[in-house]
Symmetry: C2
Subunit: 176 residues, 2 copies
Amino acid sequence: MAHMTVSVEYGIHCLLWLVGNDGAPMSSRDLADLQGISPSFLAKIFPKLEKAGIVAASEGVRGGYRLAREPKDISFLDIVDAIEGRKPLFDCQEVRGRCAVFGDAAPRWATSGVCGVHAAMLKAEKAMRDSLAATSLADVATGFGKVAPAEFFGDVSEWIGERMSGRTTRTGKPPP
Amino acid sequence: MAHMTVSVEYGIHCLLWLVGNDGAPMSSRDLADLQGISPSFLAKIFPKLEKAGIVAASEGVRGGYRLAREPKDISFLDIVDAIEGRKPLFDCQEVRGRCAVFGDAAPRWATSGVCGVHAAMLKAEKAMRDSLAATSLADVATGFGKVAPAEFFGDVSEWIGERMSGRTTRTGKPPP
DNA sequence: CTAACTAGGATAAGATCGGTCTGCGTTTTA
DNA sequence: TAAAACGCAGACCGATCTTATCCTAGTTAG
């Protein structure tokens, strides 16, 4: 029917990590490596989220991204629109006005208002958008928190810690 | 967000003409010329509608397409699926299982069931599909019938008639 | 100063989309 | 009986989108 890009999927999963990170910024590279995503690709997604006011960036050495709002105030619709750029589901070509019997100019009764076909698509689009707007980051994050064992969050903190220390103590690339 | 192809738009507008044609077959070429659509392109859309059981084809010289079911039993969802081929809105890459701290094998708690992100998208997709399923060809056709003046349908019949007679009496191409 | 960050542009492979053209089989009709 | 009008299938083409990768420039902590 239509396709939602993987950029959206990557973006949402990253934001979910930021929910659990409690205000501390995470770099796009760390988020990518943590999830097995292409770092350079992810680096192109975050600026879009920042422009939309979903995350806040801090530049410089220990910089990264953090959520700009509370998770419950970030809907899936916000994210999708930020990343994919609010394109309409259907863009009407105004076929109704092209009827051959009209000749050059279509009469007003044929072209006024919204095309019936278009209207049906707008309704469907609205239904989808309403559903996305009703789902927040917080909703999905708490669902995840329920299935993940407490141990897991410790492991993740450790993984992040290793990265950090590896960078500050060794002053170089990690061993191959 | 996502995009519905113009093939769907063309297809639906053609089907609406078939609603008004009351069982008599119309050729894809006539439907294209009547609406200012590329005939060769439209010719690629109709076989899909036929395979889906939405229209019935009659081959040969005075052949064409007619609706295979009643307009009220043809939903927009049927048409979209027939033409675009029921692709999912979102195809989950299972990012949740790729977490670096899992190492090679992700634990079962992380990969069982439907991913929370995926679930949200499925819900949105269902909302859209439900909306499309709730709209039938008949709904839109009657809406059109209300705004079109009676005169119009006469003009269209005449236009079709001219095409037919032009083809049968002159045994050749129409004058340039 | 340097390494770790973000921001943004250039580029490229692959897929999809809108559209054209050709060739083939079927059916009516002159 | 042959031409013309039809449907069907596939090859092709250019434009655009998607998913990357790489490179440069600017910013900041240690």
